[in-house]
Amino acid sequence: MTTPTNLKYTASHEWAKLEADGSVTIGITDHAQEALGDIVFLELPAVGRVVKAGEECAVVESVKAASDIYSPVSGEVVDINQAAADAPDSVNADAYANWLFRVKPANLAELDGLLDAAAYTATF
C-alpha cells in the first residue's frame, strides 16, 4: 500500500492534489481501492456541478459494494477522468495516476484542513 507524501487526504479515503493551474485533482487512495476490491463501475459528477466540501459527488462500485466519494474541497467540477470511467479497473492498478475528477476550488484554505500522508495512515 502506498500513500504519497505530496498529496492531501481525507478520513473518507480520497486524495487531493493542488495543480499548477489552481485546480484540485481528486481520486481514491490505494488503501481504498485495496479495501474495495475489483472496481467495475465509476459514476462521476457532471462537469459544471458546484459541490461543497464533504458532499457526495461520485460513486465507486466494486464487485463487492458501492462506495460514495466525497469532494474534499468546495468548488466547481471542471473535469472528469472519462478514461478511468471507461476502464474502472485502472483505479485498482494505480489509484493515484487514475484520478476521478477535478474541482476549481472556491476556497484554497480548505486544502490546509485535509490530512497529510502520516495523519491519513494513522486513521487505519
Partner: protein
C-alpha cells in the same frame, strides 16, 4: 470470538482477506475476486465450505420423518449417495432454510444446512423429531467434526484425481447430484457455481493437508466473493438474501423443489402453501445501462414495484445482473426500470439463470 474452520491457517497462508460471515471468519478473496471467478469458469477453483453444517440422521423412522420435514420428497432417493435439494418450511410455508440431503439407506441420511441458520435449523428439527425414532447428530465440531471443500470448474475433477489418484475409480462414474464414499470421505458431484466439480466432506483433522495437495494440483483458492458472483450467474438462491421465512418457495423460484406428487404425503407447510397467495415471481435482470444492480434496489414495472434480492457485476458477462422478486405478470424479455440512487436505469427481465458450464445462456 469469531468461529474458524479447520482451514483458517491455510487461508492466511494463501494470502486471504478474511471477513465475518454469519459469525465465521472466512476468506472473501485471496487477491482478486474476478480472477477467482474466472478460474472456476475456465479451469478450477476451491472453496472452504466447512462453515456449513453437516448433520447425520440415523434411525428406523429416518425416511418417514424427512418426508414430513421437507417440501421435497426423499422417497425418490433410492440409489445410495443420491442427493436432493429441498426447502425446510415452517407451518406457514415460509422458508426456514434450504439444504441438501444425501441418501445412504432408508435409515441413514446426511443433511447439509447453511452456516448462519444451523442453530435455528437444528432446534426446529429436534422439535419435529418428537414421536419419531431417529437421531440427529451435528458433524461441524467436536468428535467426528467434518471439513468440507468444494472443488469447482471444468478441470476440477481431473485436478482432484491428480491430487488423489486412487479416488478416481470410486468417483469417476458419479452422476450429477450423486455422492460416493471414498476412504471415509464423502465425495459428491454437487456445487454452488454452475460448473462441474465435487463437494468433499472429510475429517476436519485432515483438512489442511488435503487443501495443500489440492493447491499443488493447481486448484486456485477462491473466496466467498467469487462464490457469490458464481452462484448468482448460475441463478442459485442464497438463503437470507433471496428467500427467508417471509417468502414461500413459490415466490423464490423454487416451486420445482416442492413435491406434491404423493397426495397422501403431509409435509410441514403443505396446507399453508395451498392457500398462500402468490403475488411475486422470481426473475433475473440484466442491466442495459451502465451501473451495478444491488440487493434491495426498487424495480419499477407496469405491474407494480418489485425488489432486487441479489445483484452484482457479472464477471462472465461483463455486465450487471440481478435476481429479483417481481410482480406476477411481468413478462420474461420485457424492459423494466431500476432505481439506483437518483437515477432510473433500464434492465431486461430474463430467466433467473445467466451462465452454466462456462457459457452464457441468455
Amino acid at each position: 470470538m469469531p468461529l474458524r474452520t479447520p482451514l483458517y491457517d491455510s487461508h492466511l497462508a494463501a494470502g486471504a482477506k478474511m471477513v465475518d460471515f454469519s459469525g465465521w471468519e472466512m476468506p472473501i478473496n485471496y487477491g482478486s475476486q474476478i480472477e477467482e471467478h474466472h478460474a472456476v469458469r475456465t479451469d478450477s477453483g476451491m472453496f472452504d465450505v466447512s462453515h456449513m453444517c453437516a448433520l447425520d440422521l440415523v434411525g428406523p423412522d429416518a425416511t418417514r420423518w424427512l418426508r414430513h420435514l421437507l417440501a421435497n420428497d426423499v422417497a425418490k432417493l433410492t440409489t445410495p449417495g443420491k442427493a436432493l435439494y429441498s426447502c425446510l418450511l415452517d407451518e406457514a410455508g415460509g422458508v426456514i432454510d434450504d439444504l441438501i440431503v444425501y441418501f445412504f439407506t432408508a435409515e441413514h441420511y446426511r443433511i447439509v444446512v447453511n452456516a448462519g441458520t444451523a442453530t435455528k435449523d437444528i432446534a426446529w428439527m429436534r422439535q419435529q423429531l418428537a414421536g419419531f425414532n431417529a437421531t440427529l447428530t451435528q458433524r461441524r465440531d467436536g468428535d467426528g467434526a467434518l471439513a468440507m471443500i468444494a472443488v469447482q470448474g471444468p478441470n476440477a475433477r481431473e485436478r482432484f484425481w491428480t491430487a488423489f489418484p486412487t479416488a478416481r475409480a470410486a468417483t469417476v462414474l458419479l452422476g450429477i447430484f450423486q455422492a460416493a464414499d471414498w476412504d471415509g470421505w464423502l465425495v459428491a458431484r454437487t456445487g454452488y457455481t454452475g460448473e462441474d466439480g465435487f463437494e468433499i466432506s472429510l475429517p476436519a483433522a485432515d483438512a489442511a493437508q488435503v487443501w495443500q495437495k489440492l493447491l499443488a494440483a493447481g486448484i486456485k483458492p477462491c473466496g466467498l466473493g467469487a462464490r457469490d458472483t458464481l452462484r448468482l450467474e448460475a441463478g442459485m438462491n442464497l438463503y437470507g438474501q433471496d428467500m427467508d421465512e417471509g417468502i414461500s418457495p413459490y415466490e423464490a423460484g423454487l416451486k420445482w423443489t416442492v413435491d406434491l406428487k404423493d397426495t397422501a404425503r403431509d409435509f410441514i407447510g403443505k396446507s399453508a402453501l395451498a392457500t398462500r397467495p402468490v403475488r411475486n415471481q422470481f426473475a433475473g435482470l440484466l442491466l442495459l445501462d451502465r451501473g451495478v444492480l444491488r440487493a434491495h434496489q426498487k424495480v419499477i414495472t407496469p405491474q407494480g414495484a418489485g425488489e432486487i434480492t441479489s445483484g452484482t457485476f457479472s464477471p462472465s458477462l461483463n455486465q450487471s445482473i440481478a435476481l429479483a422478486r417481481l410482480p406476477v405478470g411481468v413478462a420474461i424479455g420485457s424492459e423494466v426500470e431500476v432505481e439506483i440512487r437518483d437515477k432510473r436505469l433500464k434492465a431486461r427481465v430474463v430467466k433467473p439463470s445467466f451462465v452454466r458450464n462456462g457459457k452464457p445462456i441468455l
